[in-house]
Amino acid sequence: MYDLIVIGSGPGGYEAAAHAGRLGKKVALVEEGRIGGTCLNVGCIPAKAFLRSSRLCRELREGACYGIQANPGKLDMVAVVERKNRIVATLARGVDELLADAQVAVINGRARLTGRDQVEVGGERLQAANILIATGSRPAVPAIPGIGSGNVIDSTAAFELTEIPARVAIVGAGYIGLEFATFFTDVGAEVAVFEVLPQVAAGCDRDVGDRLRQSLQRCGVTFHLSCRVLGIDGRQLSYADSSGQRQTCSADLILHATGRMPVVDDLGLERAGVDFSAGGIPITERGRTNVPGIWACGDVTGTHMLAHVATREAVVAVNNMFGKPDRIRYDAIPAVIYTHPEAASVGRTEQELRDAGIGYDRTVVPMGVAGRFLIENEAGSGFLKLLTGARYGEILGVHAVADLSSEFIVAAAALIEAELCVRHAAEIVFPHPTVAEALGEALRRAQQGRQS
């Protein structure tokens, strides 16, 4: 009899297991694949490893801007993948140690719920007072004729590429598609992105999406927006363009990145009476499903699909399981797109505020206000947008398009979490010179705007 059985070992599952183990609970973690889940093995970490290599490619090309004459080096994808694998392996060892230290029993196999407090793994039935479902998500396969062709891959397969094709077509301009667009274009491929919506990075603040698109276009990426991919035939991708005209595009590799789907099938959820749909398992802010004793966290809930949300949801669920009331607040969740330039956001977008009828003030500063940004980005530009409540000056959202914004967006998240208003937030001292100073400048300007 376990205190907790966790199904899935991604950043939600392993954190939950380790946290419960450290609380002295008897915990089993069931994983059918590799420890670490999507994030570590085929998601965040490999993508950023790839992007580090592609950035170096770009920087070598741009070296002259910084006074360095360098040959544009030769890309060795085998070495890039090996480096990625080393990083993944190092981090996976770290997770293994974390779980071992917390005395978590790691069970390899596929878990199915056979009751409210029972999980079956490889024919063996395990009892638990609590079950946490953290099965994550998998790439959604769009219903496009020919999607199963040999040169069509998803993001998971992309992390094993040993050669860079000359022409890459990416279906989907969400964050995954955009990050791959940056990667492939920086390593010298010709990239075309196909998106059914009229904008890229749907869900982001509109200005962020527009600027990202413009920046990527300047880097050579072609965007086909408001278009529908009709079919794939060998290297030919046919699509209806924004005016409905049938067009074709030739590509050596087609990557589909049309989002991710929660893994809810064949888990025995029906049998345990857990409410779910193809869109995921709904949970409360405390991590509960509709069935007492069964909890869920992360991508399988189908909402945020962010590793850091999974981790926090996991800790919240475990705390609540074992008597420490806790809840997650979703209003200060930062999100980053690791394109070039990066986009980092937290809080509400202008569209969301308008839809909610919330009065707000908008302060936009060009990233050039931060000396460090100019130093780090010879040819780059960007902006930071601060949205504050019209009445009280509370910080409602911060949206930046700027390299290194991923590293300081957490400061904005803290301001939102603490519900600090600009009057006092503007008193915070920012280190100089840093890219983050753009946020400090925006706060000061917003405060000046309120005084005038």
Partner: protein, 443 residues
């Protein structure tokens, strides 16, 4: 020469009024008769007109302040005129005896912030992480100089604080102790709370910090009228032994009379409710025991029937009084009730038309209510509820059943004074009057 404008005394019993809104502000030009402000007594709201032409040189109270009558609330004069000689913001009472909200707002030169005296604090003046009292309201305690300084420096003054100094005086330590124990609000939550949002005991933020989303909907300031209603109804239930008798009367005659009245434009406005009240007044003439007030152990029966009737208005329940209703004809009664109801709805009814009732009628019949429990309006000893008209089966002398139109009557009486049988008898008299409406209304 500048003219000061005082809070008017709006009724014999009115001692203070709530200043609900300024319609003119400092610097506005006004003509004599322009409305300067709206004020509210326990019973109704009024407008304060400008007594002279000129410029509003200054106002002495914020909206929401409760101001004693005959207190200067603003001053009107010529542009640029100095107001020092005329500036007398009210009879200057001692701090201890004055409720916080009745203190004049400090003028620009005065250093003492209004919020430290328990008024709604200035949002912008509140630092991050300060604590806000869980229940917004006005404090009354006298503060030591150091407590005042602490309150000022921390933008903090809880609505209720027990003073540990001499004579209950609040000293700095009292405030410091509360400052550390009251729930911690985020800056954004604090700003909302200071405007009246309800603060829960526990928050969802880091370490239990109360965030804006945790706050309840801003608590609307309940009007003086509503406060008065609340107090009176609580007192009613607390100080009497109420019980309700339900009965009904054949309404066939009532409906016939109404049809007849409707055909004449002169009387078309007379309602079923008017008819029932007219019958009730007649019944009270025959049963004076219920037209009485009981207070302080003394029972006072009245010969004059000052009939109070419950009236729904945007400001809440009002109960206008038709004086000497026994002297009025049906048409006069109906007209008078309509006048009073319109004034009550418009908020222009005089306080003296809202007091002095000897018996109350509450009519919910038009809303389809079949039976209810009217609450006594003390010191009155009885109240009659008028219910809806519905079909009721009755057995005819020949043994057959027929359906008649029947109107429900719900009589609440104070058992301290009125026993069951006399109450039932009175209800029977009312029923008799209603069933004989055709005769009495044609006279």
């Amino acid at each position: 020469m500048a003219t000061t404008v005082q809070m008017p005394k709006l009724g014999n019993t009115v001692e203070e009024c709530l200043l609900t809104a300024w319609l003119k502000h400092k610097g506005d030009a006004v003509a004599a008769g322009d409305i300067l402000a709206e004020v509210e007594t326990d019973k109704a709201s009024f407008e304060v007109p400008a007594p002279a032409d000129g410029i509003v040189l200054d106002t002495f109270f914020d909206e929401g302040a409760v101001v004693p009558v005959f207190t200067s609330i603003c001053v009107i004069g010529a542009a640029g005129e100095t107001i020092d000689e005329t500036l007398t913001p009210g009879p200057p009472p001692a701090v201890d005896s004055l409720t916080a909200s009745a203190r004049p707002r400090p003028t620009d030169s005065a250093g003492w912030p209004a919020q430290a005296l328990g008024q709604v604090p200035d949002i912008e003046a509140r630092p991050a992480g300060t604590v806000i009292p869980a229940r917004p309201g006005a404090g009354r305690a006298a503060l030591s100089p150091r407590a005042r300084r602490f309150a000022r420096e921390h933008d903090f003054m809880p609505p209720e604080v027990t003073g540990s100094g001499p004579g209950g005086r609040v000293v700095e330590a009292d405030l410091r102790a509360l400052f550390g124990t009251l729930p911690r609000l985020s800056e954004a939550a604090g700003a909302r709370a200071s405007e009246g949002a309800v603060v829960p005991p526990d928050g969802s933020g880091i370490g239990g910090m109360i965030r804006a989303a945790d706050l309840g909907a801003p608590a609307a300031r309940i009007s003086a009228v509503r406060q008065r209603i609340a107090e009176r109804l609580r007192d009613s239930l607390g100080s009497t032994a109420q019980y309700t008798l339900n009965s009904s009367a054949n309404a066939g005659g009532l409906l016939a009379v109404r049809r007849a009245l409707k055909s004449d434009p002169q009387t078309a406005g007379i309602t079923i409710g008017d008819l029932v009240i007219f019958c009730t007044i007649r019944a009270l003439g025959q049963a004076p025991g219920l037209n009485a007030e009981f207070t302080g152990g003394i029972l006072c029966q009245h010969s004059a029937i000052h009939l109070a009737f419950a009236c729904d208005t945007d400001r809440g329940l009002m109960v206008p009084v038709v004086r000497d209703s026994q002297r009025l004809s049906l048409a006069e009664l109906s007209l008078r009730m309509r006048e009073l109801a319109e004034q009550a709805a418009a908020g222009t009814i005089g306080p003296d038309d809202l007091t002095g009732g000897t018996f109350t009628v509450s009519n919910l019949g038009s809303l389809g209510i079949e039976s209810f429990t009217p609450v006594l309006n003390p010191p009155q000893v009885a109240i009659l509820g008028i219910d809806t008209i519905g079909l009721k089966p009755v057995r005819k002398p020949d043994g057959n059943i027929e359906f008649i139109d029947s109107i429900g009557l719900s009589l609440t009486v104070d058992h301290q004074i009125i026993d069951g049988v006399p109450a039932a008898r009175f209800l029977n008299v009312v029923r008799h009057e209603i069933e004989n409406a055709p005769q009495l209304c044609t006279t």
